[in-house]
Symmetry: C2
Subunit: 228 residues, 2 copies
């Protein structure tokens, strides 16, 4: 640690530079698990949010530090729409930085979520993201931004027919009626991962069973330490 | 918890909806401290990063969960410049979403940092931000986005002459030479907080002493629980 002496003061003070925040490894030793990003991807209605929350609860009950990033906490804040931003920041600002559903906006949506998930990962947290994230390239960019092994892509592989039959938010119905444009699976593609770390079947298995599969993976890879 | 029975499958599965992530309060009971945002503000060279890191280390050694958001981990990721974004995302994308130093870009810079700090706060983490954040309005918008008591504005009140004499990154020199435009304190204003939760004197007191003052405040307000 270097010292930088401020002179000319009545009370000279030694100021220390180049101090770093607590390292990721130090936090991980305390938590007894590594930080990582569990990136759930799949069609609307494939059960991403449900799995994210069940997993979060299970990890919490084990004393692990996890956090869910999903539409609820992202779309009203970090990635707010122009309509949300305009009253506070003005229309010009909102038009530039607010996110809608154009290809560019979707790309930026995933880019920002990836950057935040990375921060949580660096903080030693198991970040769980629950977004359709339909484009392979966007997901792969997040993967590349992280350290090898930190990105755990979990594909919820449910057939469109099942997701559409479930339609928990009534979005497929609206998309079929032409009220939503560019809806994934209807008039916009979903690009499944080629080599996800985990491919899960949310039709045959319950969210509880799927969460256990993810946790088994985390233990197998020593993301959750054996000492825990 | 509601159940939604998917029929027509060989293996009917009960899917549970409306499950929420672990609540902030549950996490806080486990951590024995609340989440909050410690928002450091002050001129370049006033010691924000140093204080942030000393505070982070002290909180960590107490077993508290804290994390520093600063230029190092924000400017290369979430709030990357057009120059960083262009090679990966293309020039048009970079021009729209990349952040420079125009008034609008600075506003968005602080808005995104505030949104991320809020997420950490919801995760039960003591988020420490270390940015000049010169405009009162931008800081007040972050304050308003948080629950009452969650925003702790800490003003590092050092005279410009001292900060400029220290000039740890050589930025004042560059600004005086006209190589940096719109530099806070030189040709762009710094608007001090009217009612910061803490006003600290980084000339008379060491970063260690200032960190202790912040921690005393956190205990006094029961952000760090008395039971800890």
């Amino acid at each position: 640690m270097e010292g930088n002496r401020i002179t000319g003061m009545s009370d000279p003070v030694i100021l220390h530079w180049h101090q770093h925040a607590v390292s990721r490894e130090e936090r991980e030793q305390l938590h007894k698990h590594r930080g990582c990003v569990i990136w759930l991807t799949g069609l609307s209605g494939s059960g991403k949010s449900t799995l994210a929350n069940v997993l979060d609860h299970k990890l919490f009950s084990m004393g692990c530090h996890s956090f869910v990033l999903d539409g609820d906490n992202i779309r009203h804040g970090l990635n707010a729409s122009p309509e949300i931003l305009a009253p506070v920041h003005g229309k010009e600002f909102a038009a530039r930085f607010g996110l809608g559903f154009s290809p560019q906006d979707r790309e930026e949506n995933i880019r920002r979520i990836g950057a935040v998930a990375k921060l949580f990962c660096e903080a030693g947290v198991i970040a769980i993201t629950a977004f359709i994230s339909p484009y392979r390239r966007d997901r792969d960019l997040v993967r590349k931004s992280l350290r090898q092994g930190d990105f755990i892509e979990v594909f919820l592989d449910a057939p469109l027919e099942i997701c559409e039959a479930r339609d928990p938010k009534g979005l497929y119905k609206k998309a079929r009626a032409g009220l939503i444009k560019g809806f994934t699976g209807i008039d916009d593609p979903y690009e499944p991962p080629d080599h996800p770390e985990l491919r899960l079947d949310p039709v045959r298995f319950s969210p509880e069973e799927l969460a256990d599969t993810v946790i088994a993976y985390l233990k197998e890879r020593a993301i959750i330490f054996p000492s825990r």
